[in-house]
């Protein structure tokens, strides 16, 4: 199955609460491409002393199938006596945000998303950085090279016409 390798660093979370109070510790994050079962997910370690602002700073590597449109990021509270694992906040990260954004997908990009809890209520923010590594054997059509333009002249502006379409997107547009 054609896929890409996604390196996603889960950096930190902000204002994550349970029943109105910041969660002191015990949160971890799972990442998986959508359409995949829970077994395909990857976890971070548990944050111990974030106090509402958990920090993980952990890099996870996920296989991202070509047809996946979202990566699901879930912040969970770890199981302890009498409690099972509970999903405290979820975010669906559109793959297009880092594949078809301003920067090429192999560039390290910093992204942040709103988390929503099981009832759909807003519950904090998750901060991530992502970078796509191409699977070996896949050829990159349209290797990005600096577009040869006369120095200092940008073909932008004008009435609504943007001519600078990033080349690196062309290959993937053809695939989708």
């Amino acid at each position: 199955m054609a896929s890409r390798t996604l390196e996603i660093t889960v950096i930190s979370g902000e204002n994550i609460q349970i029943r109105g109070k910041p969660i002191k510790s015990g949160l971890f994050v799972t990442v998986r491409p959508e359409l995949q079962s829970e077994n395909g997910s990857v976890n971070t370690k548990i944050d111990r002393d974030g106090d509402g602002f958990p920090r993980w700073n952990e890099k996870l590597v996920v296989d991202l199938p070509m047809h996946a449109a979202f990566v699901v990021v879930e912040v969970c509270r770890s199981a302890s006596s009498g409690r099972k694992v509970k999903i405290v906040g979820t975010s669906r990260v559109p793959v297009a945000d880092f594949v078809a954004g301003y920067l090429p997908e192999s560039h390290l990009q910093f992204l942040s998303y709103r988390l929503r809890d099981e009832r759909g209520e807003r519950n904090g923010i998750i901060n991530l950085s992502v970078r796509v590594k191409l699977a070996p054997g896949i050829e990159r059509i349209g290797v990005p090279v600096p577009v040869a333009m006369p120095e200092g002249r940008f073909h932008g502006g004008g009435v609504g016409v943007v001519t600078g379409i990033p080349i690196w997107n062309v290959a993937y547009r053809d695939r989708f």
Partner: protein, 590 residues
């Protein structure tokens, strides 16, 4: 905002630098107020050293004995003497030893004027300061701006010395030698301390109400009392609080032995924070506390009528972490070749008023007095131009109908349909004036297209590996019409090397615009629930520049306070992405 920079990744807000703001975020108005009281944001101490070559020979039997005098030139042209070097005997190629310590401020155009004199032998026994300059022989002069020196890769600037003759004012001044000025950043600017502070048993007069403590660290200066340097966040309802790490730059503090006053306040939403206790420590003493793990008692000045000794409280201060690190500074990145690229977008919506009428914001005064748009362009362009090597600035207008076309929300100010750049600040002003004649004002006020265009330029530059940081200045008279589209554009652009300064001119109520500036509210969120990874927008309402300088002592204008934030935003960007001053900005292929 604020001076305690956090080099942590996006999302962790940096600790504000204001002493008594009512919330834990700072804002531009308070920063201005503090600036006028001696509080400094991001600045660096630089040491300038001087040498000259090929000086004129004035003495008959021996070579000149040159001395250098350095002045700073104010906006009105007045010269103020800063420094005199020593006299070097008998040399036409002197290397002076006495160096000048000067504070580099990004947001100010610091013009320096140099005069070289030949000091007559009869005066050479006097101290240099006693010399009357009009009794010495003038050898030549030169002038430059401090930013020109620090943006050179070797931090040295070679200037031609010119000799101005008063009698023949029509002749060109003669060249007479060269002056080399070299800048070194003082090492103290690079050292940063990370400190985690904790308090125990904080007491409150009213035993039953809760304590919301925060700390303010001030530097004690003999003549001026205490100047706030840093403050922590407010922790709610905790009498044994541990605050988030504080980052102190050595030059804010002075030295490791400088006395610091650490005060613990109880936050009160009406602004009258109650002092719980304070303690006086140097950095060395804090370091010792962190090793020993012991605490030190806080003190409280007693109210009148009691004994005059400071009452030692049960509350104690602990230092949980004290670590020192050397960081690359803004000047390091400049010396490594980083450039600031200025871009400008001007609002041409009809709400500005008919440009031919005197009360229009776009009225070009025949007397030459600049209108608000021109003032903002000059004030920002004047500072930023030195940081751009080719001085070509993209300039756009929005909200107008060019002569033969529909309303455009991003048209090139120079009238071209191929390229958007103009040459220098003068180029922007000329393009602006001619655009006024060639377009008809329309509307609505949309920022989206302009921001997207600027973001595209920044992203192309980044992908090409260029070491450039972009600053977009948007000057507008009105509130943006489609706030959500603007937020979407800003969120998408938040991961790029881009800062956006929005200056609001005219008398409109800009309250709604403040929501774009994350300092005054929450992080921006797009319609797809993506959140901005950095706060890239600063907004300030621009009153007439005369009124601005009256309002704030020391001639610090609101726009300068905006500009002062840029080095901080730049450093947050490069540090969180681990970009080193000398490396190519990474464009990594898989």
């Amino acid at each position: 905002m604020g001076n305690c920079f956090s080099n942590e990744a996006a999302g962790q807000s940096s600790v504000g630098g204001t002493a008594f703001s009512q919330s834990t975020t700072s804002n531009v108005a308070i920063d201005c107020f503090l600036l006028s009281r001696g509080y400094r944001g991001l600045y660096s101490q630089i040491e300038l050293s001087f040498s000259a070559s090929n000086l004129r020979d004035r003495d008959i039997f021996s070579k000149s004995d040159p001395m250098l005098v350095v002045y700073t030139k104010g906006k009105d042209g007045t010269l103020e003497e800063l420094h005199r070097t020593e006299v070097v005997q008998n040399s036409l190629n002197p290397k002076w030893i006495h160096k000048l310590n000067i504070t580099y401020q990004f947001e100010v155009v610091q013009t320096l004027v140099f005069f070289v004199y030949d000091v007559d032998t009869q005066y050479q026994n006097l101290g240099v300061k006693m010399l009357k300059l009009d009794e010495q022989q003038y050898l030549g002069e030169a002038t430059c701006v401090l930013s020109e020196i620090v943006t050179q890769s070797d931090r040295s600037l070679i200037l031609d010395l010119v000799y101005r003759e008063e009698s023949t004012s029509s002749s060109l001044p003669r060249l007479c030698g060269k002056l080399t000025v070299h800048a070194e950043e003082c090492v103290s600017s690079k050292t940063t301390m990370e400190i985690i502070l904790r308090c125990s048993d904080l007491e409150h007069k009213d035993l039953f109400s809760r304590i919301d403590p925060f700390l303010v660290i001030s530097k004690f200066v003999e003549s001026k009392g205490s100047i706030p340097v840093c403050k922590t966040e407010v922790i709610k309802n905790d009498s044994n609080p541990t605050w988030k790490p504080i980052f102190l730059n050595m030059q804010q503090v002075g030295s490791k032995d400088s006395p610091l006053i650490i005060e613990c306040f109880n936050f009160n939403s009406n602004g009258k924070h109650e002092l719980i206790g304070k303690v006086r420590k140097t950095l060395v003493e804090l370091e010792k506390l962190s090793f020993s793990g012991e605490g030190d008692s806080l003190f409280l000045l007693p109210s009148a009528g009691h004994d005059y000794h400071n009452k030692a409280l049960k509350s104690q201060l602990f230092v949980d972490k004290f670590s020192e690190s050397v960081q690359q500074t803004f000047l390091d990145y400049l010396a490594g070749g980083y450039e600031m690229n200025f871009m400008v977008a001007v609002d041409f919506t009809a709400s500005n008023g008919n440009p031919r009428l005197r009360d229009s914001l776009h009225f070009i005064d025949p007397s030459g007095r600049p209108n608000s748009y021109q003032q903002a362009i000059i004030e920002v362009g004047e500072v930023l131009q030195f940081y751009d090597s080719d001085k070509r600035f993209p300039a756009w207008g929005f909200g107008a109908r060019p002569i033969d076309g529909p309303v455009s929300h991003c048209f090139n100010l120079n009238g071209s349909s191929h390229y958007c750049e103009v040459e220098g600040t003068q180029g922007i002003l000329m393009a602006y004036t001619s655009a006024l004649h060639n377009v008809s004002l329309a509307g609505p006020t949309l920022f989206g297209p302009v921001i997207n265009n600027a973001a595209l330029i920044a992203s192309q530059s980044l992908a090409n590996g260029a070491r450039k940081y972009f600053v977009l200045l948007i000057i507008t008279d009105g509130v943006v019409t489609d706030l959500q589209e603007t937020k979407d554009a800003l969120v998408k652009a938040s991961d790029l090397p881009l800062s956006i300064l929005i200056v609001g001119v005219g008398g409109a109520d800009f309250k709604e615009m403040e929501v774009l500036d994350a300092d005054k509210g929450e992080r921006l969120e797009s319609s797809t629930e993506r959140v901005a990874s950095r706060d890239i927008v600063q907004f300030v309402p621009f009153r007439d520049v005369q009124a601005n300088t009256l309002l704030i002592n020391g001639g610090v204008s609101m726009v300068q306070a905006l500009l002062a934030e840029i080095p901080h935003q730049f450093l947050t960007y490069v540090r969180s992405r681990d970009v080193q001053p000398n490396s190519r900005s990474s464009y990594q292929t898989a």
